[in-house]
Amino acid sequence: MAATRVRSESFQALILRLHAFWSAQGCVILQPYDMEVGAGTFHPATTLRALGRRPWRAAYVQPSRRPADGRYGENPNRLQHYYQYQVIMKPSPPDAQALLLESYREIGLDPLRHDFRFVEDDWESPTLGAWGLGWEVWCDGMEVGQFTYFQQVGGIAAALPSFEMTYGLERLAMYVQGVENVFDLDFNGAGVRYGDVFLRAEREYSAYNFEHADTGMLVRHFADAERECAALLAARLALPAYDQCIKASHLFNLLDARGVISVAERASYIGRVRTLARGCCEAWLDGEEPANRELISKT
């Protein structure tokens, strides 16, 4: 049905098509979470909502920050800030794979013309205490998404396993548009390129991430976020506490990019964030409905 769709989709048109498609599947279309995160999974709409027995479907774009991946705008395939398109459906629907393939058709990738494959890739987030099984989705040898059946989040077994799909939007758009440099992407179909919007940011943030970030301050902020998170958990405020967990995670990523964390310290930082995440997940479940208490105590 979509095989004849024009190849030169603009970046923003691609997002709108995905919104329309997943909206039609009953997803709540959310806006990005207003904090710095490393991946769309960190959005509370995924991390927290994946827990408990309440069904949930959501889709949103999440700007994702990977300080160590910055290349000062000089690498055509690497960015320290990029967009993920994130879908979560709880419980996982029986036709999740078919829905996903349908969404690729919607953005112009016909699976009879292209070679789509599901290649084993188990997903794990040590900082979130989360894992799941699934695949990398390949289109003509390129990874165009990550498909996961969540099994555990915040150290708590998922009562209703979710289906999570993450698209790397820039890479997908480059493929659909046939562009070899991310900064050449047609952003709006009206003359604005991706580089016009983001090239300067890539240069400046790379310099910040690698050269200027004040590591002493970052270490202090990490400790502050950790303390604040614990205090908010004591007050049973799961969502504000989770914000502090997200903060701590991003501060850790910045410290890591600055190369000041040794291998041994690294494990310890990850463990500290995981402890926060677990506390937030437990507090969230607890506040959702009393019936969830058994889910917490079982793990």
Binding site: L112, M142, A264
Partner: protein, 684 residues
């Protein structure tokens, strides 16, 4: 006999788990359906399905048997116990003579009923390496969601489901339907038999049989490569993996931009094989060709043009990334990166990579003269061994450590033997890997492994039965292989002692050498060689300075002698002597005093006494000259004299002093034999 076909169809199964799962299915079904005497099993496995077919009996016939119970006169409790044991009521019993008898009937069962009864439990307990939950209605787990079960017996469906109380078993009910290719023929179709199923799948773009798929892929790649006058680089592991990634293999060929062909072949290999599962192509002269081959799962509506273009594009992006690191890394001299190793932890308790490099330099320089290498060159190579760990390329592709160091060293105009040593100091990385032979490489490779063993033993991280997280067994085997395959005369104990001492670690070289010799024995056993001979000589490792080559020469000579008829007879004589001594010494204490010539009365014992004096001197002389073959040959000359002694002389003479003297003579025979090996450790 009726044919059974079982197909478990679902979402994509990881390639590495498929073959094992098919084997498990055959094994478990064979056990569960054993009453039906399943025959001629065939298994099938692929990305979306594992399947089994076999013939089975039409059913299990009713059987009758009688169980004799207690005597009629037995107490009531005995009868109650008998009834409880068999779950029977009293009125089911009949009397036969003095006994109660229970007639039992095992009802017959039709094959379909037995299959439907057994399979749900089998599937619930299926041993996937890792299983998952999905959906919201069932706790049934599988490797990835299970979508369909086909179960056909003799042309008809055998319905069963996975329900369990309120759990709906994901609503899956076994029937006679299968599905073809995900995109080319997705509609379900009905199946009557295994042959029907296989042909039905083939018509729907699925090759069910993995071996056939693999053969098709191999042939397709070969033909495709030949169209450009090329051939495919052999890669059985990749072929296996790709067989598990496609149902309808379509070989395709992509081009590599000439601009990337100067990347090191190992770098291209990582991007192509590890990341993309592409096959490398070679020209007639074996050089890398600017093409790659891959296996698509679909021909493509445009003849595959979009698929090839897409794959070429992906590889271009990967190569562009590699090219970036390759160019950027070469802007710095390798030597200039050494300082950064002081900021990298090797192991929390063992300090930084920088400290490790300084240990390796010292050790390599010390080993060098003993393996014929120039100490200064070995030290230089050791300085650079770990420098590539802080390059961009190795940061991105850790598996290229060593390999990149060699390229960057050559770029810096380091000498070739030093550059090779940087690459080869990790070798051998496993049983299939080759051992370094160049002298500088040998020195640095040994230093790396000796330091690893010493360091981890020093902090108590010895391998255990279940775990060896620091790969110390591999390091030990590496040392042994380097020494053996280079025929090195290298006492290892002093080297371990020196490393431990210089680093202020506990002095535990004995423990480490013991571990090495244990590995040697294990390795000989695995090779099917005579490991008992090594056990018989390993106590000489001390005296011979833990020189493995010398130890093995001694073991080989002893082993060769034992392989001859003469040697086997000598061993028999030795054992006879040793047995007599063991019994008598238990009573008398050791008989190790001097033999008195005056007390020798029989000619046969005089002959043995004379021969011994000669052989002892001869053996000691040959061993001192490391001529073990001559030493054991000399021992073997004792054989006829010893045999004659046992034939003609009674050891336990009535005169106590004569008896004692003969026991002492036998003790001297034993001691002479022990100059070569402890023959009591010889098996068989």
């Amino acid at each position: 006999m009726p044919e059974l076909l079982l197909e478990l169809f679902g979402e994509e199964i990881p390639a590495r788990m498929q073959a094992r799962a098919a084997d498990d299915l055959a094994r478990l079904a064979g056990a569960a359906l054993a009453p039906l005497l399943p025959q001629a099993p065939m298994t099938f496995h692929g990305p979306r399905r594992i399947a089994l077919s076999c013939t089975v009996a039409a059913g299990v016939a009713e059987t009758r048997s009688s169980e004799r119970g207690p005597r009629i006169a037995a107490p009531e409790q005995a009868l109650a116990g008998f009834l409880r044991k068999h779950g029977a009521a009293r009125d089911a019993l009949r009397q036969e003579g003095d006994f109660w008898v229970l007639d039992r009937i095992s009802p017959g069962i039709a094959a379909a009923a037995l299959i439907a009864r057994e399979l749900p439990g089998l599937l619930r307990r299926f041993p996937w390496p890792k299983s998952m939950r999905w959906g919201g209605s069932s706790a049934f787990t599988w490797v990835r969601p299970l979508r369909r079960i086909l179960c056909v017996l003799d042309g008809a469906a055998v319905p069963f489901d996975l329900r369990d109380g309120g759990d709906d078993g994901h609503g899956v009910v076994a029937d006679a339907l299968s599905e073809g290719h995900r995109f080319l023929a997705p509609a379900p179709f009905a199946v009557r038999s295994r042959a029907d199923w296989q042909e039905g799948l083939r018509a729907r773009f699925v090759i069910a049989d993995a071996a056939e798929r693999r053969a098709r892929i191999a042939a397709g790649l070969r033909d495709l490569a030949a169209t450009e006058g090329l051939h495919v680089a052999e890669d059985a592991g990749l072929l296996d993996e790709v067989t598990g990634l496609v149902e309808w293999p379509v070989p395709m060929l992509g081009r590599i931009d000439a601009a990337f062909m100067d990347l090191p072949p190992e770098v291209m290999q990582v991007s192509m094989r590890v990341n993309q599962r592409y096959f490398a192509l070679r020209d007639g002269a074996g050089r890398a060709a600017p093409y790659f081959a891959f296996i698509a799962n679909i021909p493509g509506t445009d003849g595959g043009a979009a698929i090839v273009a897409g794959n070429e594009r992906v590889l271009r992006a990967r190569f562009a990334d590699a090219r970036h690191f390759w160019d950027a890394d070469r802007r710095h001299r390798l030597e200039s990166r050494v300082a950064a190793l002081d900021g990298i932890t090797f192991e929390a308790r063992l300090g930084t990579q920088g400290e490790r490099v300084r240990r390796l330099m010292r050790l390599a320089a010390m080993i060098a003269p003993q393996v014929g290498a120039d100490p200064a060159r070995a030290e230089r190579a050791a300085l650079l061994t770990k420098a590539d760990l802080v390059t961009g390329m190795v940061g991105e592709f850790p598996e290229l450590q060593g390999v990149m160091g060699r390229y960057y060293a050559l770029h810096d105009h380091e000498d070739a033997d030093i550059a090779d040593a940087i690459r080869d100091h990790y070798a051998p990385k496993g049983p299939a890997d080759t051992v370094p032979l160049a002298k500088v490489s040998v020195a640095v490779a040994l230093a790396d492994k000796i330091d690893t063993l010493a360091a981890f033993f020093a902090i108590g991280e010895k391998p255990t039965g279940s775990g060896d997280p620091f790969a110390l067994r591999r390091a030990a085997l590496g040392i042994l292989r380097i020494v053996r395959e280079n025929g090195l005369r290298l006492p290892l104990r002093p080297l371990f002692a020196d490393v431990l001492h210089a680093s202020g670690w506990p002095i535990i070289e004995e423990e480490i050498c013991d571990f090495l010799l244990d590995r040697l024995v294990v390795q000989m056993r695995a090779d099917g060689a005579r490991y008992d001979v090594v056990q018989a000589v390993r106590h000489f490792a001390d005296g011979e300075g833990s020189d493995v080559t010398l130890l093995l020469a001694r073991a080989a000579a002893v082993g060769a002698m034992l392989g001859t008829g003469e040697g086997a007879n000598l061993l028999a004589g030795y054992r006879r002597a040793a047995n007599i001594l063991r019994i008598e010494e238990r009573r008398d204490g050791p008989h190790d005093g001097p033999v008195e010539a005056a007390l020798l009365t029989e000619p046969a014992e005089e002959a043995l006494f004379t021969a011994l004096a000669h052989v002892e001197a001869d053996v000691a002389h040959h061993i001192a000259g490391e001529n073990f073959a001559a030493a054991v040959e000399s021992l073997a000359t004792l054989r006829p004299t010893l045999d004659a002694f046992f034939d003609r002389v009674t050891v336990n003479d009535p005169h106590p002093e004569i008896r004692r003297n003969r026991l002492r003579l036998l003790a001297r025979v034993r001691a002479a034999m022990h100059l070569a090996a402890d023959f009591s450790k010889i098996e068989g």
